[in-house]
């Protein structure tokens, strides 16, 4: 059995993204590098053969998903309930957290001009954000950051897929905390 066949079978059987490490568990002969190479092989084959699905990267994981152009056909079927679209309030807080993490509640409220308590609870319940630590200062406030699930929900391979702040229409003068962005080499685009 070739590595890409084993990886294909495993990706095919899973309903959630799997990391290379998880995929490698399918066989002793596999390691993460081989898995990643296998994924590349599969991607190229699916592309060439014009398969209706492709391997996409979501966070650290990979998942077989249909290509977007098939959505209109599939939407004709009764589908399982999918995560709801986020409310503007939730999106606003999430946007701030995504770009400023780790960040505390007070700072989020300062930017939004409104209370964020209940929104934060919702985002935590949906596992889109989590507590990543505690800040300095009075009461050592909880600091929030985004989760793997956040990346999955928005179809992002990593936070680097978000445009850098200065490329947004309204760029901010002050520099953003984004050391993380430079640290890792960009992963191959997920094509999402």
């Amino acid at each position: 059995m070739r590595p890409e066949q084993i990886v294909e079978a495993t990706l095919f059987a899973s309903q959630t993204p799997l990391t290379p490490a998880e995929l490698a568990r399918a066989d002793e002969s596999l390691d993460e590098t081989q898995v990643e190479r296998a994924i590349e092989v599969l991607r190229e084959r699916y592309e060439e053969d014009e398969r209706a699905f492709q391997v996409y990267q979501l966070g650290d994981g990979f998942q077989l998903l249909t290509r977007p152009e098939y959505a209109p056909y599939l939407e004709r079927f009764d589908s399982v309930p999918r995560p709801p679209h986020l409310s503007p309030a939730a999106l606003e807080s999430l946007a701030i957290i995504a770009y400023r993490q780790p960040i505390g509640r007070i700072e989020i409220e300062d930017v939004r001009g409104v209370s964020a308590t209940s929104v934060l609870r919702t985002l935590i319940d949906w596992e889109l954000i989590r507590v990543v630590g505690r800040g300095e200062g009075l009461g050592r406030p909880l600091l929030y950051g985004t989760t793997e699930r956040f990346l999955e929900h928005f179809g992002l391979a990593s936070l680097e897929d978000l445009p850098p702040p200065d490329e947004l229409p309204v760029a901010l003068g002050e520099s953003e905390p984004d050391e993380a962005r430079e640290a890792e080499p960009a992963a191959p685009p997920a094509e999402l």
């Binding site: 495993t10 059987a13 899973s14 309903q15 959630t16 799997l18 998880e22 996409y56 998942q63 077989l64 998903l65 249909t66 977007p68 098939y70 959505a71 599939l74 079927f77 009764d78 589908s79 399982v80 309930p81 999918r82 679209h85 986020l86 309030a89 999106l91 606003e92 999430l94 946007a95 701030i96 995504a98 770009y99 509640r105 300062d110 930017v111 939004r112 001009g113 409104v114 209370s115 308590t117 934060l120 609870r121 935590i124 319940d125 949906w126 596992e127 507590v131 909880l142 929900h153 928005f154 179809g155 992002l156 978000l162 445009p163 702040p165 947004l168 309204v170 760029a171 901010l172 999402l192």
Partner: protein, 293 residues
């Protein structure tokens, strides 16, 4: 919402002055959102906001919607109007009294507006990403046809599980507990209890004087004690509406202990940080290989 008839589209010009000024307050995420809308929809240079003009519009926009708003939200809009009015006043100060190195009173507001606008761009990015992600379907997207009841997998729940859950149900609040007749209760006891409690807190719920015992006799004694101390002007009794809690306020002078209800908001969030991916959330369905992990 100020007026339900016309829904202004984002970016549509707002008629200035007169009756046609229609803004749905509910539509805005908060004061910054509203302010930004006023500025954008009138092609105002954000770096040179005509403060008097915008303040007037802002106040009029929130005027009507305010009392229909929950207190917390109303407070957020009011805070912004206070800021606007303060800036307006500062702008009116005669020039000579302001030094050159002094910051434009509008600077902080402009910074906040720009920052808020920036994150609106991010919101747009996220919305686009979310919509795109929604066009990729995973295996299992097309729903199971509901299987006939007979073929359903057996739930793995035993009677013992059920009984254990039942044992965890708290008892209903007893209507009246049977007490040995010897346990008499006197108004005097309640008076000294109330005096002790009111010494420590500025206000005490009447309930606290009898809830632990749960009998009618205690409730009556507590009420009589409260009335007695009210007569002696030690306390004041307050109830906001029928059947709401009865509060006993100390009339002794002391530090103001206005509540701070919102402070501990960060606490319980940790606990709710995992919401089950289990059956409760998603309902039953044939498990695929979803548990791969």
């Amino acid at each position: 919402m100020i007026s339900g008839s016309t829904k202004p589209q984002a970016g549509s010009p707002i008629a200035i002055g007169g009756e046609s000024f229609v803004v749905e307050l509910d539509r805005f995420q908060g004061p910054l959102d509203l302010l930004l809308h006023l500025i954008r929809s009138q092609d105002i240079d954000i770096l040179d906001i005509p403060i008097a003009h915008i303040t007037g519009q802002f106040l009029r926009a929130i005027e009507e919607g305010l009392d229909r708003m929950p207190l917390e939200r109303a407070g957020e809009f009011l805070e912004m109007s206070a800021t606007l009015v303060r800036i307006k006043a500062q702008m009116l100060l005669p020039r000579p009294e302001r030094y050159e190195w002094e910051e434009d009173p509008r600077a902080e507001l402009v910074r906040r507006l720009l920052e808020y606008e920036h994150f609106q761009d991010v919101v747009h990015v996220l919305q686009t990403a979310e919509a795109q992600r929604g066009r990729h379907m995973a295996k299992g997207y097309i729903e199971d046809r509901p299987p006939p009841v007979i073929s359903r997998p057996q739930l793995e729940v035993s009677l013992r599980d059920l009984l254990e859950a039942a044992a965890r149900i708290p008892d209903p609040v007893p209507v009246a507990q049977v007490r040995p007749p010897s346990a008499t209760v006197t108004v005097g006891e309640k008076v000294s209890l109330l005096r002790r409690l009111i010494g420590k807190a500025k206000r005490v719920a009447l309930e606290r004087l009898f809830k632990p015992w749960g009998t009618r006799a205690h409730a009556v004694a507590a009420l009589l004690a409260a009335l007695e101390l009210a007569r002696q002007q030690v306390i004041r009794i307050e109830q906001t509406k029928p059947f709401s809690p009865i509060w006993l306020f100390s009339l002794a002078t002391g530090s103001d202990r206005s509540g701070s209800a919102d402070t501990g908001a960060d606490g319980p969030e940790l606990e709710s940080s995992r919401v089950g991916s289990g059956i409760e959330e998603n309902g039953p369905r044939a498990a695929g290989a979803e548990e791969l992990s």
